[in-house]
């Protein structure tokens, strides 16, 4: 503090003597140091007053008093500055906590992509913020592959907390053979019991039977997947009726099946994909279909990554919602 007083007095003395830009620059430099050392505005004025009194022995009494008023006025500025600093510190702590939570979530929701079957599988899931409100999970045994894709309406921490509940519901299931309608029924009961009325989750569940090349699916109000038939080079939506999870305990879900032939694929997604927006408005389903069709001969993982990057580009790299895309391609 004494050091600053000396420095300040010297700069002030110089400046009173000669009003050069250089002397003003010195003043600005010392302000950086003062802030770093947490010296509050009222203290700076007090230093100014004391320096002035030393430099000008004949300083007018009225002028001296005026600084006391200024000090009084500056006290709250000093407080506001300190509060600001504390809030910034707090914000950094929250951010760090969020990153930790996101890591925990990632570990929790880790899913193993099944290999060594007659399906080529690609998956990408990218949260809009730190925490993901989308969920994709595989179940797998020798003959069956199950895939769950879910989306909590909303994003961020509340959505992420909800997601872990679905994970434990999925873990309680017996195996990949379970029928989609049964899976949805079980998860719906869990969600209905544990989640507040304002929380809605949509979910799609599909099961692929390797022995019959059959894909059976059901949906709880989820975005319908796209089925690409390689023979006709055309997309169709896989519709299945069913209410969102957690609304009422007993819901009748509808189950459908299709057969996959070589080159056919199913594209499962969340509304982060279908509700992509560019400057001109929503990106149309046709555009998304065209993007996918462009890369239909690529490995499934490359397909999903390509679609993500393409849509990212169309949206000027501004991702509004959690994004999840899964492709099952028959080989």
């Amino acid at each position: 503090m004494e050091e600053f007083k000396k420095q300040y007095k010297k700069i002030l003395e110089q400046y009173i003597l000669k009003q050069t830009e250089h002397n003003l620059y010195e003043g600005q430099n010392i302000s950086r140091q003062l802030i770093q050392k947490n010296i509050s505005p009222e203290e700076v004025i007090s230093i100014h007053k004391a320096s002035l009194e030393e430099i000008m022995s004949d300083l007018d009494g009225d002028v001296q008093h005026s600084f006391d008023l200024l000090i009084e006025v500056m006290i709250r500025y000093g407080l506001a500055l300190k509060e600001h600093q504390t809030l910034i510190q707090k914000q950094q702590n929250i951010k760090m906590e969020m990153e930790l939570a996101a890591n925990v979530q990632q570990t929790l929701l880790k899913t193993k992509v099944p290999k060594e079957i007659d399906l080529d599988i690609g998956i990408i899931t990218v949260p809009a913020k730190e925490m993901n409100g989308d969920y994709a999970h595989f179940l797998h045994d020798n003959t069956h592959v199950g895939i769950a894709v879910a989306d909590v309406i909303g994003k961020g921490i509340p959505a992420a907390l909800c997601m872990s509940m679905i994970k434990y519901g999925m873990d309680s299931l017996d195996g990949a053979e379970t029928d989609p309608v049964i899976v949805l029924d079980v998860i719906n009961r869990i969600v209905e019991k544990s989640v507040s009325d304002s929380m809605f989750i949509s979910m799609f569940y599909g099961k692929y039977d390797t022995s019959k090349s059959e894909f059976t699916y059901a949906s709880a109000g989820h975005e319908p997947p796209l089925f690409y038939c390689s023979e006709t080079s055309s997309f169709t939506e896989l519709q299945a009726k069913g209410l969102l999870l957690g609304v009422i305990p007993n819901v009748k879900y509808e189950q459908q099946s299709i057969t996959l032939n070589k080159g056919d694929f199913v594209v499962m997604m969340t509304d982060g994909v279908t509700e992509c927006r560019s400057k001109e408005g929503f990106i149309e389903q046709k555009t998304i279909m065209d993007i996918i069709e462009n890369v239909r001969d690529q490995p499934a993982q490359e397909m999903v990554e390509y679609v993500f990057h393409k849509l990212e580009e169309l949206q000027d790299f501004e991702q509004r919602d959690d994004f999840t895309l899964v492709i099952f391609k028959k080989i």
Binding site: E42, E43, S46, K49, D68, I71, E72, I75, R76, Y77, G78, L79, A80, L81, K82, E83, T86, L87, K90
Partner: protein, 133 residues
């Protein structure tokens, strides 16, 4: 040494009287202009809280000493509604009178020691001390 004096807070003008008392005592202890301004701002804040939320109360100013250390203690007491959630009013960014850098966190920052005792429905006693360095 235990000099004490106090001001009853009933009208807004009593806030000024409390400040004046605080400033006189602070000068007497030997505080400089900046610390005087800090102490009086803290007194303002405490007296204003009494005036706004409790209706009436009292600000007591005490010169105190601990070993070689001299200081000034401000005690604000009222029989108002008390504070339901102390943790919340001590939080930065939370202020019911809607100003930056004030309220009880401000008082705590301006002074060296800060203590709050409150019983919901019965009243509040806040004491804050500044030490002369």
């Amino acid at each position: 040494m235990n000099l004490r004096s106090s001001v009853d807070i009933i009208t807004e003008w009593d806030i000024v009287a409390a400040r004046q008392l605080g400033r006189n005592e602070a000068k007497d202890v030997g505080f400089g202009t900046v610390d005087q301004a800090r102490i009086t701002t803290a007194i303002s804040e405490l007296a204003r809280n009494i005036y706004l939320y409790a209706g009436k109360g009292n600000i007591e100013i005490k010169q105190i000493a601990e070993g070689n250390l001299k200081g000034l203690q401000v005690i604000a007491s009222d029989k108002g509604p008390g504070i339901a959630d102390v943790r919340k009013v001590m939080e930065d960014g939370f202020t019911t009178s809607g100003g930056l850098g004030a309220g009880l966190p401000g008082v705590k920052r301006l002074m060296d020691d800060f203590k709050i005792e409150t019983v919901f429905g019965e009243g509040t006693v806040i004491s804050a001390t500044k030490w002369l360095r």
